[in-house]
Symmetry: C2
Subunit: 338 residues, 2 copies
């Protein structure tokens, strides 16, 4: 089969790889319907994360079940399935608590920009749709498996409630999906920090009520202006840099909450500053599995359309162009069709 391999910063190639095989009775093999490039794939692509030996890339997928191991009874060959970047048995104590992305048997996916993918913990990870969804739904269902699930988690961790004010830090695919989530959870005011016109337009289409282009101290002052001087009830940090975290913490009101979902790179939080801010803080890899049934329903009923974050569609053969377009911020997110 064909699959993407990263060799060095800026060097991702589509190569011929061995077809995946069932290795454990809890595995499934799926034929990829659509896959994509993630913002987090850019960390190694940009040389900001060590690559080590050349290795396959990708952790987002939806597809058709090809084969299942002997222990897998929840999905069967031919079904269309959605999963998560973190696999989970969905039975351990952490899964039962709703934190499937901390499953005691978790395996992170890392080989999904390919024609076929082996899914460990398939029984607990994959959710099948009742019928084969029409192709126009595929991008949104793919988004649910990662960026939409992560945006939902940002809003959940930041405790967005009906009538509240939410600030979204970051206008990437996750930040834009976080706007959808805040809107669905009833936030009355949704302020997005963005300097990119096309992303601002999409943010407004998803429900943003205000756009703030300032950053740093000016950005914080602008948020305070918009929130009666005290800050926002909820702040959804969707970047992962020290600057974004600072922006988030200073934008929340005393008693407010920051949900942080961008993997932190070089972020340290001062204990005394956090203390006197009275801000609650929770982050982590999104427990996508918890949200899947609900988010799939919202997509298939037409209520949300997170697939709009894919503003570039390419055949898998042209994956290098997808990486390049995202690296150069010409595209928000690239969809790949095998």
């Amino acid at each position: 089969m064909r699959g993407a391999v990263i060799h060095a910063p800026g060097d991702v190639r589509l190569e011929t790889l061995d077809d995946p095989k069932i290795l454990q009775p809890s595995d499934a093999i799926i034929r990829t319907a659509v896959t994509c490039v993630c913002g987090s794939d850019l960390w190694p692509y940009r040389g900001l994360e060590p690559i080590g030996e050349a290795h396959p890339m990708g952790h987002e997928y939806v597809g058709f079940v090809e084969e299942v191991g002997s222990e897998v009874t929840s999905v069967k060959p031919g079904q269309f399935v959605i999963g998560s970047f973190a696999t989970s048995d969905n039975t351990c104590a952490n899964c039962r608590n709703g934190f499937q992305s901390s499953c005691l048997n978790r395996e992170f996916m890392s080989i999904c920009q390919a024609e076929f993918v082996r899914i460990p913990n398939a029984q607990g990870t994959l959710v099948a749709t009742d019928e084969r969804p029409d192709e126009p739904f595929w991008p949104s269902l793919l988004a649910v498996s990662d960026v939409m699930g992560t945006g939902w988690w940002a809003a959940d961790a930041a405790a967005v409630t009906p009538g509240s004010t939410a600030v979204v830090v970051g206008d990437g695919a996750v930040g834009l999906c976080a706007v959808i989530a805040a809107k669905e959870m009833g936030a009355e005011r949704i302020i997005v920090m963005s300097r990119h016109e096309p992303r601002q337009t999409l943010a407004r289409a998803f429900g943003a009520t205000d756009i703030v282009t300032e950053r740093g101290e000016e950005g914080v002052a602008r948020i305070k202006d918009l929130t009666g001087g005290i800050g926002a009830d909820s702040v959804l940090e969707c970047v992962g840099t020290a600057q974004a975290m600072q922006q988030a913490l200073y934008s929340a009101r005393p008693g407010g909450n920051v949900g942080f979902v961008g993997v932190p790179h070089g972020v340290a939080i001062d204990g005394q500053e956090l203390f006197f801010s009275h801000v609650g803080l929770r982050g982590g890899p999104a427990p996508v599995r918890r949200y899947l049934p609900d988010l799939i329903d919202r997509v298939l009923s037409g209520r949300i359309n997170p697939g709009k974050v894919f503003d570039l569609v390419l055949p898998l053969d042209r994956i290098t162009e997808g990486y390049r377009a995202m690296d150069e911020r010409r595209a928000i997110k690239a969809l790949l069709t095998p």
Copy 2:
């Protein structure tokens, strides 16, 4: 009047000070019924916090109203009142959100180890009892104004729920009051980290079910042993050191919560570590005013008796002995009677 003044580390003296006067129409003057020494008073006493010029000490008080400013209508001379170490107008946006200790007009108290005290923001800060409480209730009502309110906040910030497992880090007066709070909020299992026999005994009397004497990695391993391998639902960090915060974060399960109420000294939290822990974190100065009516009821109905943390009672004249006994850990907390 007589009041305590700190001159240098280890040097607290009772001196003659000017009687306080109404300075603002929102002030009240109270005659102290009882006051006490706080664990946080030991930071400057031990030379771990700069002292600067000699200044009065103390931020815990209950007493009788002597005089009120022209704007104060909620309490009147002669009434027994309980307040908080942080004054609040109880009308600003932060107060209305329940975070009175972030009141936009907050003033921290700092002159309460004295016979008379001026209370700014008296209208929003002081709560009067219906009748003059009997003297045996005074220590518990004094505790409510700070350590019990702070212990309650620790349990609240750590989201203790009925049937849950809570870990209390710290066996000082706040930690012991946090045990009371966890018990009142329905925690089924309350694990206290303590190495001091008399404090362990009091912790058990307050509702602790388990005592852990180990610290560091061994302490974390012991907590994991006691919590099905995953950690506790709620951890109440009642110390404020880097070691205690580390202990707290490692003791909570994925999806669990840490409430941290000891003022952090030298605490930095690694963003990526917090991210992958899936632990929620909230701290700050306790919004005691929010809890006062409820906690006063619990004390006067005999349901809780946090005044037991005062294991040393001294006349105000002997305040230096109170500091010394707490510094040397011979006393948990010293009550002072003017």
